[in-house]
Subunit: 160 residues, 2 copies
């Protein structure tokens, strides 16, 4: 564990740090249900922000499915901010609450490139219990109402 | 060089792939000029998108300054899309042109979290000549007009 100390501003988010591996289920009114493997890496460089990358792959054949990259910030006690770049051309800005090791954020803006499908809202609930992370993601996209889309459970593999 | 082949949709952007290291200069009407070291990593996983992370540090004392993460996409021949998450709470969506190994993109949206400073526009010119990448970044922020902000030169260190 070399590197700078965790900035005190993001110390309440320190439980997210590390490499997480697990599996999830995807579903939505417009797609066939699917199962995926997932790796999430969360790190810091001593600044008041946590960086993360995430990738998923199909449990059928291992082909890559999705990936995200972004940053977690604290906006004040219990107040969380999230910025995410999506490979399919979306940029997500979300805000919400942190209580203990549970986070709930909802998008306040979803912008996109000209060729990206329309996504109107994303809500994320993330919970860490010891070395287990679970999350649920709800989405409103392509004209559909907000509905469950992803649900996964991951295990902490490495803390740095 | 293991891993999947580069997706043909992003083959025109293949010249960006690799790890780039170099130095740059920062300036803006609201800050003292500064010099920075920089590392840019660009990779792919076989999908029609390139992923990248970037980080800079002060040449004075090595302290980390900035970092970005995002994705490059092609929207058609010569047409480029960029999505970037910024650690200071901004999400950037940009579009522009690719000619040979020169890219010029301008932001079409800049969204932000509640605690982030206002940034109104970012323009990026990137050029690769062999193993040398140079870029210029112009920015309109905190009430100032679009103006030069960053200029850097990097060298290709590793292709994967």
């Amino acid at each position: 564990m070399d590197g700078p100390a965790l900035h005190p501003d993001v110390a309440p988010l320190g439980f997210l740090l590390g490499s997480w591996m697990g599996e999830g289920k995807g579903f939505y009114s417009t797609v066939a249900p699917f199962e995926y493997g997932e790796e999430i890496r969360v790190w810091h460089i001593g600044k008041p922000v946590l960086a993360f990358t995430q990738r998923t792959w199909s449990l059928d054949d291992g082909r890559p499915l999705h990936g995200e990259a972004g940053f977690w910030r604290m906006a004040g006690p219990g107040s969380v901010e999230l910025v995410v770049a999506h490979p399919n051309g979306h940029a997500e800005v979300a805000e919400g609450r942190l209580e203990g090791t549970s986070i709930s954020v909802a998008s306040i803006s979803l912008t996109r490139t000209s060729t990206a499908k329309q996504v109107d809202a994303i809500e994320r609930d993330i919970r860490v219990d010891g070395e287990i992370m679970t999350y649920e993601l709800r989405m409103a996209a392509v004209g559909q109402p907000l509905d469950g889309h992803l649900q996964a459970e991951l295990r902490l593999g490495a803390t740095h």
